[in-house]
């Protein structure tokens, strides 16, 4: 297989790998990534087929790409989607045309960009796994490509190069080094930041953010977590968290009033939400982390005081605004008995109505016009909406041409919580009952022990507060059918696994996906605090103990390091050389030479001893020579080249010994012959 064919096949695999997240993304339409996928499959299956289209055809293809991208929406839906489409089609064409290393590298850059788009557009936790595997693949391919560029065959060694273990170790090291980089990278925002022109979608649209208080979508993104400071269980009624209420009806949207705000009165370090309550006796303290703070604190019913590290103000509807966004915003709330939020009595804005709603007014009159009390009318309208309308997140509203409330009540008959709440408010106002829409969160997931509540963006909810007179104040009603009201989920049995998985997702959301400037500040705060805590706890004794422990650890590390470096070879003694079996045998040889008249001076080298032994015992000359070679290897070799086999040395020594005996025999015979003569 030629290099370019191998490279085309690798490129095909890389294209397919880069496209893995695409089916789960919404920014790229399926035909585009499928086209690139087909090109990748072609490269994998038929890398040897290199298309060579004419320039005219290529120009036509280029025009076709522009036309197709324009037909898929063009710039009307923002720049990212058409750029993504363009990138995918260009990649599909470019990878097919790869015919040499230069075009291969150009295509590799395009594939890398596709991969960047895939990863950067994903928010699911599994993208972390994909990212890590991608790092391994990237390293492996990178090393492989460079080996190939050196003309090195990467597949003929039995196993393909590079070795997977080496690659995984490198990626692990890179990940370790990357972590501090990730933590310290600037997250200050930028004047060119993408998404700054985020259009307001408050109001009756499929993508609802409830006045930017909660985002009513199917998002599993964590909005807030709640726990009792004393570790007690979360009560069910705490799970309805109120932001604030809207009163204006403008252009089909309910808007929060921006005026009439007052600073919260602070006393003893906490801000009091009601002017007539100044005690925390009998209250429960809870802690809330608001991960996506959007102007208002989320407060459970019965909140009497709040403490947060930010400036706060109270609006006329009992909503608490905070000064600046720091993610996550952590605050404490003290809860008493559930009671209506402190709020001013209804004013003219609580009865404002859209124009030209005669049909709606007639409907309201027909439903509850004959009832006398506000409470009865509210209950009736609530029941009417729950029973006769359908909950749906896909309302398909046409807000530019139609009054959304009228459209919901009279035409579609289906919608999400904001439609239900808006319809109830408008109907009650037609009946002369002051009412307003409230945005916040409802429900959530309880921990197995019931002491933690996780609330997600999908728990965003809208309901209604109705004025029931000075005695009862503003009372909550929820006209949304039960199916549309986010509930409070507990966990038991196998759901504990789900909870554990959710905790991992929470970590993913908080520590990676939404890690921001506030987290960086918190990290620095924690480090400074840890340093101060450590410095406060240091005294003379701890310095001595710590110093001694450090010294011991250093010594231990040095010893371990030396052990690691020298491996498991035996210790060197004497001159520093290893005295292995061969050199010990030569020593025995030297000792054996002395009785037969040999002279072994102290400086005698192995070879000198060997030469003498050969002259004394020529029958063993061959074995002596081999022994000398082994001993020299042992003493002067690099240690890793030839291992001396003790069994072989024993065999050689046996041969030498037999030669010695033969010599003794010969000498004895000659002496006997001399005596005889």
């Amino acid at each position: 297989m030629t290099d370019i064919v191998a490279e085309r096949r690798q490129l095909g695999w890389l294209v397919l790998w880069a496209l893995v997240p695409m089916p789960f993304l919404y920014i790229v339409l399926p035909p585009f990534w499928m086209a690139t996928g087909i090109a990748g499959i072609f490269l994998v299956l038929r890398p040897d087929k290199i298309p060579r289209p004419s320039k005219t055809l290529l120009n036509l293809v280029a025009v076709g790409i522009v036309v197709v991208v324009a037909m898929a929406g063009g710039l009307n839906i923002g720049p990212l989607r058409p750029l993504g489409h363009l990138l995918l089609l260009l990649t599909a064409v470019q990878v097919l045309l790869v015919h040499d290393r230069r075009s291969f590298l150009r295509s590799l850059a395009l594939v890398a960009m596709v991969w960047v788009v895939s990863v950067a557009s994903s928010t699911h936790m599994m993208v972390a796994l994909y990212f890590l595997v991608s790092a391994v693949v990237g390293w492996w391919v990178g090393i492989r490509l460079h080996l190939m560029s050196l003309g090195i065959a990467v597949d003929d060694a039995g196993s393909a190069l590079p070795r997977p273990l080496h690659v995984i170790a490198a990626v692990a090291a890179a990940l370790l080094i990357a972590t501090p980089f990730f933590l310290v990278m600037p997250r200050l925002g930028s004047p060119w930041i993408a998404g700054s022109s985020f259009s307001r979608t408050t109001g009756f649209s499929p993508s609802v953010d409830l006045g930017k208080l909660g985002r009513l979508t199917e998002s599993q993104e964590v909005a807030l977590t709640m726990r009792a400071s004393d570790g007690s269980e979360i009560r069910q009624d705490w799970s309805r968290l109120r932001g604030t209420a809207f009163d204006q009806v403008m252009a089909g949207s309910f808007l929060p009033r921006r005026a009439d705000m007052a600073p919260l009165q602070e006393l003893r370090g906490v801000a009091w939400l009601s002017p007539d309550v100044r005690t925390l006796d009998g209250t429960v303290e809870i802690e809330i982390d608001l991960f996506n703070p959007r102007r208002y604190l989320m407060l459970p019913p019965g909140a009497v005081a709040v403490q947060a590290d930010t400036q706060m103000a109270l609006d006329v509807y009992g909503g608490v605004l905070f000064g600046y966004r720091r993610e996550p915003l952590s605050y404490r709330v003290w809860l008493g008995e559930p009671r209506p939020p402190y709020s001013a009595e209804p004013g003219p804005r609580d009865t404002l109505l859209p124009r030209d709603q005669e049909a709606v007014r007639e409907l309201a009159q027909s439903v509850a016009g004959r009832l006398e009390t506000n409470e009865a009318q509210a209950l009736t309208v609530e029941r009417f909406l729950q029973d006769n309308y359908t909950y749906s997140l896909n309302s398909g509203v046409r807000i530019h041409n139609t009054d959304p409330v009228a459209w919901f009540l009279l035409e579609s008959g289906e919608g999400h919580c904001e439609f239900f709440a808006g319809a109830m408010v408008v109907m009650l106002r037609h009946l002369g009952v002051p009412a307003r829409m409230v945005a916040g969160y409802a429900g959530g997931d309880l921990s197995p022990d019931g002491d933690n509540l996780v609330v997600r963006e999908a728990n965003a909810h809208a309901w209604v507060e109705v004025w029931l007179g000075a005695d009862q104040g503003w009372v909550s009603f929820d006209p949304t059918p039960a199916v549309g009201v986010p509930g409070l989920g507990g966990v038991n049995g196998l759901e504990r696994v789900r909870w554990a998985w959710q905790q991992i997702e929470l970590f993913w959301d908080r520590k990676l996906l939404t890690f921001g400037f506030g987290d960086q500040i918190d990290l620095i705060d924690d480090l400074i605090e840890a340093f101060h805590r450590a410095s406060r706890s240091i005294d003379r004794k701890s310095i001595l103990v710590g110093g001694a422990a450090t010294l011991l650890v250093v010594i231990l590390l040095v010893v371990l390091s030396r052990l690691w470096r020298r491996g498991l070879r035996p210790w060197r003694v004497g001159s520093g050389r290893t005295r292995g079996p061969a050199s010990r045998a030569v020593n025995r040889l030297a000792r054996a030479l002395v009785p037969v008249g040999g002279v072994v001076p102290p400086w005698a080298t192995v070879r000198v001893i060997g030469r003498q032994a050969e002259s004394f015992w020529p029958q063993s000359a061959s074995a002596v020579g081999e022994l000398v070679d082994r001993a020299e290897d042992e003493l002067y070799g690099d240690g890793g080249d030839r291992d001396v086999d003790p069994a072989e040395i024993r065999r050689l020594w046996k041969t030498i010994r037999s030669g010695m005996k033969h010599r003794e025999l010969t000498v004895g015979e000659s002496q006997q012959a001399t005596v005889d003569s």
Binding site: V116, S190, W192
Partner: protein
Amino acid sequence: MSFADAFPGFKLRLTRWGAAYIAGCVVLGFAAVNTGNNALMSMLAMALGSYIVSGTWSRQVLASVEVAVSLPAEIFAGRSTFAEIRLSNRSRFFPAYGLVLRGPDGAVLFTEKLVGTGETCRRSVELVFDRRGWTPVGPWRLEVLLPLGFFLKSKELLPEQRILVLPRLLSAEPAITLEGGGGARSMELLADRGREGEVSQLRDYRDGDDHRQLHWKQTARQQRPIVVDRQHAAEGPIYLVLDPRVPDPEDSRTQARFEHSVSEVATAVVGRLGREAPVGLVIGPVVIPPVRSGRQAGRLLRPLAEVELKSMAADGPADLGRGPVAMIVGASGR
């Protein structure tokens, strides 16, 4: 160990791939900071982490790979010589991928795809030296491009190692040395037959002795193998005289002629010693007594490798009196 000791002649060159990677990181960094997208931040962090790991890896490989070159004892100019090269990776953690060894002219001597931690690999490299005399072997360069090829790092090897290249040998020995000394042909025949010549001693059999040399009677008598050592008739020693004096040592034609003369003498020396015929050498005023064995050839060939042209004012060849001079050559020919 200082940086210069660890990386003699260190060179660092940013590759095109490395430049593209850095540019990509800059773009990625701009996109990450601009959008605040943590996925892009992760990618950038991982890219920088990979950059550091790759740099550390290649640096450690360059520092821990050692190269040992073993050259033959005798290297003749113009003849192929095979040098054994041992690449040893002393690192305990970093395997060495894609090592490239380049010769002094920049040509690739060989590439090694992988030398694992603590491993050694051997390669043979064919070398040809054009000129006799002290010749630098290097500098060679060990290049490390991997793991990710951002930088090409290299260090010098054998920067100061020189070897003595012996004179170029001619294809045939000069006839005069074949004729001189007498008995060469007959001695060859004797050696081939191996059973003629005066008996010098009887001795015990050693491994490798020719079985035809066994003395059967003594072997039977002493009940152990006894062989006969015979003394061959020695060929008479001769002297080869090389006169390096010329009127114009800078003249290229004279130099070429002198080189040929040196080669002629060296060829004669090698030829005679191959027959174990004693030969001595006179180079200018220096007299090297005759040697017989090929193992002593260096005593004659090394001075021949080092000899240089001299002016006519230098001392002439030593007078050997009535010694057996077989050949006298100088820059102007025989």
